[in-house]
């Protein structure tokens, strides 16, 4: 069993990194904007769908990823408009977009599953450059490059005037308005960026596994939350924005490792992973609350 666990580690780490970009997207809405955005499950698949169709049409795989990201931004903007212009509660706005995206993703691909046959993905290209390196290690390389670029870009962006305003909007809307900030625009903007990252993650995952699937984003939001929660448990001491982003990535990797280990023990079947994920997140969210409640309970005199 130990050998099995060890051999499954590189794959788990690579998946953790590639899905970690999705977790960063979730971090922007859930932690920075204080919005639970359910668009994610749809926009993740959109990223894969757009990327697959582009690559198959002969487009450069890197350009395909960027286009997929753009599609994700549009999806996020739709949720943003539903929420800020029409005042639909954020959760419902996200569900509406997510539902609509399911059909759109089918339209984009023309079918529910699109294999990337006879085309060269980013991962194939790097594999040709570094022959002998296993596919998991290739995925880790590309994942690390992508994560570094995204983290640096986000660190820069959230330090700009507009970025600060988005952070402040999640923190204290009344204040931002009183200081002349357009909070509706900031929320829509944040949702677009978030879903752009989610789609980027979806596109990279699609290329790494060699196919796009309409169901690939199912439960993505839960995995994103799991990554953030686990990251917070492990690296909660870090209050700086950079540390928070790294902790989401680390959380995503650990989450994948936990899943891989649990699968190896044989207690949990492939079909049970979603239930296990849901339980994991529920427990991770509940534990701090219970601890706090226990701590605040008045001590009984003995």
């Amino acid at each position: 069993m130990l050998a099995g666990i060890l051999s499954s580690l590189p794959g788990a780490v690579s998946q953790g990194i590639l899905w970690g970009i999705m977790a960063l997207g979730v971090y922007i809405t859930y932690k920075i904007l204080d919005i639970a955005d359910l668009t994610v499950d749809g926009s993740f698949a959109t990223g894969g769908a757009v990327c697959a169709v582009c690559v198959l049409s002969g487009m450069n795989p890197l350009l395909s990823v960027l286009l997929a990201m753009l599609a994700g931004c549009v999806a996020g903007a739709v949720t943003g408009i539903l929420h800020t212009v029409f005042d639909i509660p954020a959760i419902l706005a996200g569900i509406l977009t997510q539902l609509g995206l399911y059909s759109i993703n089918l339209r984009i691909m023309g079918r529910s599953n699109t294999p990337l046959l006879k085309v060269e993905t980013l991962f194939d290209k790097l594999s040709n450059l570094l022959p002998g390196l296993g596919s998991s290690y290739i995925a880790i390389c590309i994942g690390v490059i992508a994560v570094v670029l995204v983290v640096v870009a986000l660190y820069w962006f959230f330090g700009t005037e507009v970025g600060s305003e988005i952070r402040a909007t999640g923190n204290n809307e009344a204040m931002v308005k009183a200081l002349g900030g357009n909070t509706r625009l900031m929320k829509a903007f944040g949702l677009a960026i978030s879903n752009g990252l989610v789609a980027l993650s979806g596109a990279l995952v699609c290329q790494s596994q060699g196919y796009a699937d309409v169901t690939s984003g199912q439960g993505a939001i839960v995995m994103g939350l799991a990554a953030i929660v686990i990251g917070n448990v492990l690296m909660g001491w870090g209050k700086a924005f950079g540390t928070k982003m790294v902790s989401a990535i680390v959380g995503s990797i650990i989450y994948r490792i936990i899943i891989a280990v649990v699968m190896q023990t044989g207690f949990v079947d492939t079909q049970d992973t979603k239930l296990f994920s849901a339980l994991l997140v529920a427990v991770a969210l509940a534990v701090p609350v219970m601890v706090e409640r226990h701590r605040n309970k008045p001590k009984r005199e003995e």
Partner: protein
């Protein structure tokens, strides 16, 4: 005229059993540099009047003109270019999870376009450092601390500073010392007077403390049931006594006694 309200009316929940006429035709004119204190019982419409000026809710009828510009149809965040605001709740004026200097930087950009300029320049930091010194709270040495670590009084003082960092055409203060302990409240009030005098700010200050209402500012208005029922300025205002105001209030409310909150001072 720095601020003009022309027959401003507002009814909340019109046509429901919760219908509430909050403002029944407010006319107010403020000259540049006017410092008006606003008093009145609970539910008199004081906060609603300030919210109308700030554009938190649209008016039902009437017009609001700030420094010659009719802003009646402008959304709140656009009017913010002209207004400095401090709320009763010390938590409302600052972003807790952001640094003191980040909060100031946003206030420094009130009414300006936000772009992709990164961080806070050294020159800006020097300005904030100098401004914070004025508070005498030592905050100038903690500019990278998160605002959430500050006390209510410190946060309110910071909010006041932020509201005036970019000179506002009108400063709106809604019982901004009411949530603070008396000593801290007095300090923030002193700071208010200092800032208003130094910058010649046109100011509307709601207070439930009648002594403060008489002591501060050059004009006083009393509101009752959505109307301005008493408006006094200059010499006449300086000579007012708390008892005079209580008398006015009883007269307006038909002999009812002023509530405890108004008598407390």
């Amino acid at each position: 005229m720095m601020l003009e309200l022309k027959n401003v009316k507002k009814t909340f929940n019109r046509g429901t059993i919760n219908e509430k006429k909050a403002l029944e035709g407010i006319d107010l004119q403020m000259n540049p540099g006017d410092f008006i204190t606003v008093i009145g019982g609970n539910g008199a419409g004081k906060s609603t009047m300030l919210n109308m000026i700030a554009g938190v809710y649209p008016v039902d009828s009437g017009a609001i003109v700030i420094d010659g510009k009719n802003v009646t149809r402008q959304p709140d965040y656009k009017r913010a270019a002209y207004l400095g605001r401090v709320f009763q709740d010390p938590m409302m004026g600052t972003a807790a999870d952001m640094e003191i200097q980040e909060n100031l930087a946003m206030a420094y950009r009130r009414g300006k376009r936000r772009g992709l300029k990164w961080g806070i320049s050294k020159k800006e930091k020097e300005i904030y450092h100098e401004t914070l010194k004025m508070l005498d709270l030592g905050l100038e040495e903690r500019m990278t601390s998160k605002v959430g670590l500050l006390s209510g009084g410190q946060r309110q003082a910071l909010t006041l500073l932020m509201a005036t960092l970019q000179q506002p055409r009108v400063l709106l203060l809604d019982e901004h010392t009411a949530a603070l302990d008396p000593k801290t409240g007095a300090k923030v009030l002193d700071l208010t007077r200092e800032l208003v005098e130094k910058n010649q700010l046109t100011t509307l200050m709601i207070t439930h403390n009648m002594k403060d209402a008489i002591r501060l500012g050059n004009r006083l208005i009393m509101m009752h049931e959505g109307r301005i029922i008493y408006d006094v300025a200059g010499q006449e205002k300086q000579k007012l006594k708390v008892a005079d105001l209580l008398g006015k209030f009883e007269e307006a409310s038909g002999g009812e006694f002023a509530n405890d909150r108004m008598i407390l001072s």
